[in-house]
């Protein structure tokens, strides 16, 4: 193991090799995603696929890790900020940066080992989870919100692991028809939502912790389902009570043969194993 990773050698003698060969996708490179790519670069992830259609604006500088004042003036793409951040830690990393909505290049997701989703809407989360299940990819979702509460505010957030074969976000009650319908009805009316750096940092760190436990577990208590709830007022993180009611429940939302693979796949001429 190289000197750089000596302090994380407890993750296993093959951990450096595993992280180097790992292909990680991060969708959304704002407050949450920028923290995640930074941490993954430090861990030694060798292959990134990153998506964000936006460029840096002044209102992003309160939370976008790696972004600078100059990036606002030059309208730097958020994918370029993340690329700079990753390369600054490890210039030998393979990075596919897509400065577009991920749905425009969704085929790229297929080769991912893990997908991180750092998006705002329930509908987009649902779309990512459907794609992830189709190609048997673990999906780690993070999100935060600030709610008005009788002349005060409450900060909350969640980190969820949707592991193929296990409970999905619908099973967990995080994605619900009523929430999706309300969101669709209010489409375009949301305006800018409060976002601050420290809850994003907490949630991103928890997500990266779940990822590392998946790839190079350092203890034997392997959890297959994660739904963590963050209370930013009490500064606590707890496992969602919803999971307590789901013991023994088997997800049947992606159980059909039609839910797997490319339904329109036809063989191409070139092939490699």
């Amino acid at each position: 193991m190289s000197e750089r990773y000596a302090r994380q050698s407890f993750l296993g003698s093959r951990s450096e090799e595993i992280f180097k060969s790992c292909r990680v996708t991060v969708i959304g490179l704002g407050g949450g995603g920028s923290h995640i790519v930074q941490q993954l670069a430090h861990i030694g992830i060798g292959n990134f696929l990153i998506f964000d259609a936006d460029h840096v604006e002044d209102s992003n500088l309160n939370r976008l890790v790696g972004a600078t004042h100059e990036d606002v003036a030059s309208k730097t793409a958020k994918t370029a900020v993340a690329t700079r951040l990753i390369n600054g830690v490890n210039p030998n990393t393979s990075i596919v940066a897509v400065p577009k909505k991920w749905q425009e290049s969704a085929d790229l997701l297929r080769g991912s080992d893990v997908i991180f989703g750092c998006v705002d809407s329930f509908s987009e989360r649902q779309q990512i989870e459907v794609a992830a299940r189709r190609y048997l990819i673990p999906y780690i979702d993070i999100g935060m919100d600030v709610h008005p509460l009788e002349h005060q505010f409450a900060i909350s957030g969640q980190v969820i692991l949707s592991l193929p074969g296990e409970l999905c976000m619908t099973c967990m009650g995080f994605l619900r028809e009523d929430l999706l319908a309300r969101e669709a009805a209010n489409y375009g009316a949301a305006g800018s939502r409060p976002q601050v750096i420290w809850p994003n940092g907490v949630l991103a760190s928890l997500a990266v912790g779940i990822f590392v436990q998946l790839m190079t577990p350092w203890h034997k208590n392997h959890r297959r389902v994660w739904y963590l709830e963050y209370d930013g007022n009490s500064q606590t993180v707890t496992t969602s009570n919803r999971l307590a009611h789901l013991s023994g429940v088997v997800c049947n939302h992606f159980s059909s043969l039609e839910d797997v693979g490319d339904p329109f796949w036809v063989p191409t001429k070139v092939v490699a194993g």
Binding site: I18, S21, C22, D107, L108, R110, G111, D113, V114, Y135, L136, I137, P138, L163, P164, G165, Q213, L214, M215, T216, P217, H222, R223, R224, L257, V260, G261, D262, P263, W265, V266, P267, T268, K269, V270, V271, A272, G273
Partner: protein
């Protein structure tokens, strides 16, 4: 690349480890779908497992397990009625990366291409699992010689990535 969820692979191992009345080992089929990868090649995605039933083995002491015509017919019927690839699977009872024996390679080459007669547009293949690893060959549509599967991903907690196993 071949991907399979760890619980499904465990189901395969548990079934293949069961003793049979006369066959020295058991075999089965993984039902799969496919997708193209942007970089090159394809990903084969295991969806379900179909064990060969007890009565569908033929007593042949020259091999570990010999499927009878009914076993092959049932597998062919499934891919005829479903857009799926079939990957024959058997187990070598040891740790570490398994490999086909000469008999495995010879017998696979006899029957795997038959799946193209009923489902020509899908990849089919043969796998061998050990107690902690997996290896296999894929018959890609239109190419008669099989290719060694270069990557296996066992999806679960923990994830198992087997890159470039040759």
């Amino acid at each position: 690349m071949f991907k399979v969820v760890d619980r499904l692979l465990e189901r395969v191992r548990l079934d293949l480890a069961r003793p049979h009345e006369f066959a020295a080992e058991r075999v089965g089929f993984l039902v799969c779908r496919a997708a193209s990868l942007e970089r090159e090649g394809i990903v084969v995605l295991a969806h379900d497992y179909s064990p060969v039933e007890d009565e569908d083995y033929v007593d042949d002491p020259t091999v570990g397990a010999m499927m009878g015509p009914a076993a092959i017919r049932k597998a062919l019927e499934f891919v005829l009625n479903n857009k799926a690839g079939m990957f024959h699977v058997h187990m070598h009872d040891h740790h570490g990366r398994p490999r086909f024996s000469r008999i495995d390679a010879r017998e696979s080459a006899k029957f795997v291409p038959d799946f193209w007669n009923v489902r020509p547009g899908m990849p089919h293949g043969a796998l061998v699992v050990s107690t902690d690893s997996v290896w296999g060959m894929c018959w890609y549509p239109g190419i008669s010689a099989p290719v060694e599967i270069s990557e296996f991903v066992v999806v679960g907690s923990p994830m198992v990535l087997v890159r470039n196993p040759s």
